[in-house]
Assembly symmetry: C2
Homo-oligomer: 207 residues x 2
């Protein structure tokens, strides 16, 4: 198909497709004339993934690394998950103090060596951000966080399909990244429901 | 104190403080000479909050709206939560189809009118992103998401302090925004732990 049809099929404007091609997020089409190329179903699928990642706030450079993990997956699903996380996370700073993060994730069943440094650094940075703002999560709330997040992650990993490597790759790489906006959005809805129940929202006022 | 001491106290570079002042994220100091101003403890605290929000990926415009909600809070904690969410979310598009989002959040106990349009639009957009990427969350995983997120939000709202309006404001506004990076970071750690347990990571190989 021509680039115009690729655009119509995916809803991505032609100018954006050209940008993705220049940024090597999308493989070149087969050149059919000096100024024309043809694209196939793999371009449609790849374009959908690229758009979803970019719209989720993943940067161009991170998207390229996620695509690399999709195209050249490590042998085990465990390493694959590490590659997906590595693609979207900054490197761990050598001087970052991770001791508070380590104590916290022990509540998830963590012990030394169980996850990548980059991932642990993410927890340390998040705790630092809260600390700098002078915000403390009450202990009772934190222990519900750990319990809820542990359940959620175990269900996700139990759901990794093993019938084909391609299916596992898609699930792990896209699931770890693309599901984030959904979880945050669901949390906001659940907070408003719980708050309406506790403090009485529009609903409780009989509106 | 001078701007240099404000910088030393908070670890925020002087140039960044000047930028925040220009962007009205930080109130002016009291002018003590034509080219000098003095700052007090409220500047220290405000600067910590601003830096934490900006470092969490909240934009300058969104940060300004979060600060407005802190400075001029609505009367009820429920409306306050709505203001905090509104500050960091785009407006709901008039033509966005929220029917799938509505069906999904019924699993959280939602019924019509229980949350703001903007918040529901966030769920709809996240579902659209997954859909466009051709990614489906398995039903069994989605129901664990709903259960886990519901628990987490109820604990958060139960933890809203009611002894002072200031404490409630800080908790609701900062908690809803600043905790997001922590939850996502904990999820990545929990995923790696669950994956090491299921697929055998470095640990299971006896490394």
């Amino acid at each position: 198909m021509r680039i115009s049809e690729l655009s119509a099929r995916t809803g991505v404007p032609v100018a954006t497709i050209k940008y993705y091609l220049r940024e090597r997020l999308l493989p070149e089409g087969v050149r059919s004339a000096p100024t024309q190329a043809t694209y196939d179903e793999r371009h449609v699928e790849r374009l959908r993934v690229v758009r979803a990642l970019i719209e989720s706030g993943v940067s161009v450079a991170e998207t390229r690394r996620v695509l690399d993990a999709l195209d050249d997956p490590p042998a085990s699903p465990h390493d694959l998950l590490g590659a997906a996380h590595a693609a979207v996370l900054p490197a761990a700073e050598a001087d970052l103090d991770v001791s508070a993060a380590e104590r916290l994730v022990e509540g998830l069943g963590w012990h030394a060596g169980m996850c990548d440094d980059q991932v642990l650094a993410g927890v340390a940075r998040a705790l630092q951000g809260l600390d700098r703002a002078g915000f403390e999560v009450p202990d009772a709330v934190m222990s519900v966080y750990l319990d809820a997040i542990g359940r959620l992650a175990r269900a996700e990993i139990a759901g990794v399909p093993t019938e084909s490597p391609e299916a596992a790759v898609r699930y792990v790489v896209l699931g770890s990244v693309l599901v984030e906006p959904l979880l945050l959005a669901l949390r906001r809805v659940a907070e408003q429901i719980a708050s309406a129940e506790r403090f009485g929202g529009a609903d409780a006022e009989g509106a």
